[in-house]
């Protein structure tokens, strides 16, 4: 901005020349870079960036999320295996079918094998009714196109151990 007063006091020309030299010399003088750096650090402290949601999860929360994902994945996988090739998914002997509290229970592995398994999980799954016929379940022609809600007991590695059929859709 230029001086804009109505009356400007005159200055000694030689002094004015010196001031011009000083202005010119100072033109390249800026605050040291470290000042900007320190101010930006202070800014970052004052306005911390919001963390993405997945960075706010604690280790146990990550564990729980991983377990849920594993269950979901195993359920989908088991459903697909049973739907597409049920005879290949079930590897050992004739299934053991029983009635457990009004629901059908199908052991896909021997009871010894199931008892030996140290870590098992229960996975919710929807199975096509047609996939149950090879397991020895009677098939109702009127509901043959429907699905059955099932709880599947799976081993730690995702291998299906048993099925519990809870409802017919």
């Amino acid at each position: 901005m230029m001086n804009n007063d109505d009356t400007i006091d005159p200055i000694d020309p030689a002094l004015a020349t010196r001031f011009a030299a000083l202005r010119s010399e100072l033109a390249g003088h800026d605050a040291p870079r470290c000042v900007e750096k320190e101010l930006l650090q202070a800014f970052a402290k004052q306005f911390p960036k919001k963390q993405l949601w997945y960075r706010t999860l604690s280790l146990p929360q990550w564990g729980a999320a991983g377990a849920l994902a594993s269950l979901g994945g195993a359920g989908v996988l088991a459903t697909l295996l049973l739907a597409l090739a049920p005879h290949q998914a079930i590897t050992v002997g004739p299934p053991l079918i029983g009635i457990d509290d009004g629901a059908a229970f199908i052991a896909l592995e021997s009871l010894e094998r199931i008892e030996r398994e140290p870590y098992t999980r229960v996975v919710e799954a929807e199975l096509p009714q047609t996939a149950l016929a090879p397991l020895g379940m009677p098939l109702n022609p009127q509901t043959a196109g429907g699905t059955v809600r099932a709880e599947m007991l799976v081993a730690e590695d995702g291998h299906p151990l048993a099925l519990r059929l809870s409802a017919v859709n």
Partner: protein
């Protein structure tokens, strides 16, 4: 599209307080130079000038300074902040034992008696003529130094200097005239050599 560098100071400040680092950087780079140069001439020390710039922007960042755009330009407000910080710097320096300040007939400090110890004489500038007047400036009492620096180096108007220094416009005019006269007197031998 509008570049952030085109934004007004007020708009940038609003963005700063909304947490936009780019706005703060733009604002800093826009104003740090004049502020640093003012503080450098005012204190005669690069370190003190850097501290003053940092402190002024820190106050702006935290909102501690309470800048009101309706009361003037940000640049002039920052000059006022820097001046207050420089006064504190002067106070810290004056804690050392010093001879009592002599006054002239009008009760104003006698500029001719200003001790060379009043200003740091370490060489700051490469250009001889510039360094010479900088040294002469550093020997002026601070309340004469302020109007001279702001008028001659930063081209502020009398009114703007009056606002920065919190004095009336007549005082600015008289201090500027006396400051110039003292500089001319101190530099007379070399100034006469130039003509």
């Amino acid at each position: 599209m509008t570049l952030i560098t085109d934004h007004t100071d007020t708009e940038l400040l609003r963005q700063v307080h909304a947490g936009q680092a780019a706005a703060f950087t733009t604002l800093y780079r826009r104003h740090q130079g004049p502020l640093y140069r003012y503080a450098l001439l005012r204190c005669g020390s690069g370190d003190a000038a850097a501290d003053i710039v940092q402190e002024a922007f820190m106050g702006l960042l935290t909102g501690r300074l309470g800048y009101d755009p309706l009361r003037g330009q940000l640049q002039h407000f920052l000059f006022g902040v820097a001046r207050n910080l420089a006064l504190k710097f002067d106070e810290a320096r004056q804690r050392h034992p010093q001879l009592p300040e002599t006054t002239d007939d009008e009760g104003e400090p006698d500029l001719d008696s200003a001790s060379e110890a009043d200003g740091p004489l370490a060489r700051l500038l490469g250009n001889e003529a510039a360094e010479e007047i900088r040294r002469a400036l550093s020997l002026l009492p601070p309340h004469y130094r302020d109007p001279v620096i702001l008028y001659e180096l930063h081209e502020l108007s009398y009114q703007e200097i009056a606002t920065v220094c919190q004095v009336d416009i007549g005082t600015v005019r008289s201090r500027l005239a006396r400051g110039r006269a003292a500089l001319a007197k101190r530099l007379r031998p070399t100034l006469e050599g130039m003509t």
